[in-house]
């Protein structure tokens, strides 16, 4: 239980520091720290495979996407402006954040809380997990794959604008 409290505290600290800091690079790196904290939680809960996949995908790949996006979209200053642009945007921002927060809180409060102690040995081995993903849940895996491919192609289409001055 102490381990869980430490992991949760560090994750929340990293996440809250990520949105309180004005330096976007620092925020992005702290966000990576929060993702690593979630991986540590999976490890604590005995889900080895999910924890390593979380590190591989989020700490390894998604973090790079975030950092590249920050560096490529902000020219010069990497600090976020403190003031809001307009009242309308601020109100809309609060409504969206409130909605997402309410939804998450509702989901957390609605789910049955099953308190159990840490289980060091994984309940499901990697092999069983793989067989499950390839057998009964193959359709879901394929749909996720197609969705990600479509998103990737969409990103390429949006990003690759042919400007006339680019032609050799």
């Amino acid at each position: 239980m102490i381990a869980l409290a430490i992991i949760a505290l560090l994750t929340i600290a990293a996440a809250s520091a990520a949105f309180l800091l004005r330096n976007l690079i620092h925020s992005a790196l702290l966000l990576v720290g929060a993702w690593a904290g979630i991986a540590a939680f999976y490890l604590w809960a005995g889900a080895e495979f999910v924890a390593f996949a979380q590190v591989l995908v989020y700490v390894g790949a998604v973090s790079m996407v975030v950092l590249f996006a920050v560096l490529l979209t902000r020219q010069g200053a990497t600090t976020a402006p403190v003031e809001y642009d307009s009242l309308k945007r601020a109100v809309l921002g609060f409504i969206t954040a409130g909605g997402v927060g309410g939804l998450l809180f509702g989901a957390i409060l609605g789910s049955p809380l099953d308190v159990h102690t840490a289980n060091p040995a994984p309940a499901v081995s990697v092999k069983e997990l793989g067989l499950l993903l390839m057998g009964p849940h193959a359709a879901a895996l394929l749909i996720v794959g197609v969705l990600l491919t479509v998103a990737l192609l969409g990103a390429v289409v949006i990003a690759a604008v042919d400007k006339p001055e680019d032609a050799p």
Binding site: H26, L29, F52, V55, L56, M64, V126
Partner: protein
């Protein structure tokens, strides 16, 4: 006798652990493992640097470092005049790195500038935790060890980014971006090249992969994965990708001292620079260890009559062989251009690795073919590798004439 040699490290560890009270034993157990890994691979790193300098020297027809002997200590009654073939060079280098001034640029992001070398060494050491060094020697036995190894390795990219961005130097940032592009490009063939092994052996556990390569055909042909068509192709792809992942020549573009004045290392001096250097060698050693475990039979002896040598020695001999090969490559090949580097990965290695995956699947589906069918199995498997290699190689090099430099 050899069984006893096999477990000597474990006996020594248990003996030390028993000296401590019962509630501390688990902690001491892990601390000893960590200390042994740090000591063994720290020393290995030190002598890799001197071996590299000497070997590169010989490859370039010069002697290499041979002057560092022992200093004259006043407490000793005699002074050893022998230079010890320059083997104490790494210790002199360590003293030099520790006593050099640590320069931090005024405009640098102090926290990230400090954290980057710390992070990169810490993450590059994590990979050693799951390598099976011997029949009975494995620091942590994990069900998903292979996944852990790659997950631990990905975090070094973040450290390189921190170094490049935190230095606030345009060469550093440029080099960090190049390094990231290179690391991401070569992570794909690196991971894809080991997937066929997972397919054939049917596990992600490194100790089981090493154990699966035991035994000999006709008493002298070892069952290592490198001696199968898919394993050979996978091993070559793995070697190239490992070279690129550890920023070694001919893929040392991120450093590129002639173009980017050493890239993300520009603003580092003293011990911080030494830490980056150390992390590079640790990463190379860990990747070589993975290659040995997956393709070269791990701790298995090459011949049955050589099994009296303990398995961990075999592992270290193979590891040293891999490192020697990497040094040889560094002394032989020229550095690639950045466009050649990314093209090699995306147009050549990734397609070949994907085809090799199909090859691994074919091998996994046909384990019970015997007699003439066994020959067919080898033939088909070799054809799946060689034909795409030839076609891809011809098509990619056909229309590429040497580049003309108009402004050079």
């Amino acid at each position: 006798m050899s069984d006893f040699l096999e477990v000597i490290p474990l006996i020594a560890r248990d003996w030390i652990v028993d000296l401590f009270p019962a509630q501390l034993q688990w902690l001491v157990h892990h601390l000893i493992t960590i200390a042994v890994i740090l000591t063994v691979f720290g020393t290995f790193f030190a002598f890799t640097t001197v071996a590299e300098r000497k070997l590169l020297g010989r490859l370039q027809n010069r002697l290499g470092p041979n002057r560092a002997g022992l200093p004259k200590l006043s407490i000793l009654p005699f002074h050893l005049k022998h230079k010890l073939w320059g083997l104490t060079q790494p210790f002199a280098d360590a003293v030099k790195a520790l006593t050099k001034e640590d320069v931090v640029p005024d405009a640098a992001d102090k926290v990230l500038h400090f954290l980057a070398p710390v992070c990169i060494v810490a993450f590059s050491l994590l990979g050693f935790a799951v390598l099976p060094f011997g029949r009975a020697l494995i620091p942590v036995e994990l069900d998903a060890a292979l996944l852990y190894f790659f997950a631990a390795g990905t975090a070094t990219e973040l450290a390189i980014f921190m170094a490049g961005w935190g230095s606030r130097n345009k060469y550093s940032l440029l080099a960090a971006m190049r390094a990231l592009a290179q690391l991401i490009s070569y992570e794909l063939p690196l991971i894809l090249s080991v997937v066929p092994v997972v397919l054939v052996v049917g596990t992600l556990s490194l100790s089981e992969i090493a154990a699966a390569q035991g035994g000999w055909t006709l008493g002298f042909l070892p069952h290592w994965h490198v001696f199968t068509p898919w394993g050979f192709a996978g091993f070559i792809i793995f070697l190239i990708a490992a070279l690129a992942e550890s920023n070694r020549s001919p893929f040392d573009l991120p450093e590129a001292e002639s173009e980017l004045i050493a890239g993300h290392l520009t603003e580092y001096s003293g011990f911080k620079y030494a830490l980056f250097f150390m992390a590079e060698y640790f990463g190379l050693t860990a990747l070589s260890g993975l290659g040995v475990t997956i393709f070269l039979g791990g701790w298995q002896a090459p011949f049955a009559f050589l099994e009296f040598i303990p398995s961990y020695l075999w592992f270290m001999i193979k590891l040293a062989g891999m490192i020697m090969f990497f040094i040889w490559v560094r002394g032989t090949l020229l550095r690639l251009r950045i466009d050649q580097l990314t093209r090699l990965s995306w147009q050549f290695l990734v397609p070949l690795a994907l085809i090799n995956l199909v090859n691994g699947a074919f091998w996994a589906l046909t384990p019970d073919w015997t007699g003439a069918m066994l020959a067919a199995r080898w033939g088909v498997s070799a054809a799946i590798v060689v034909i795409p290699f030839l076609i891809l190689g011809r098509r990619l090099s056909g229309d590429r004439t040497p580049r003309t430099y108009r402004y050079a």
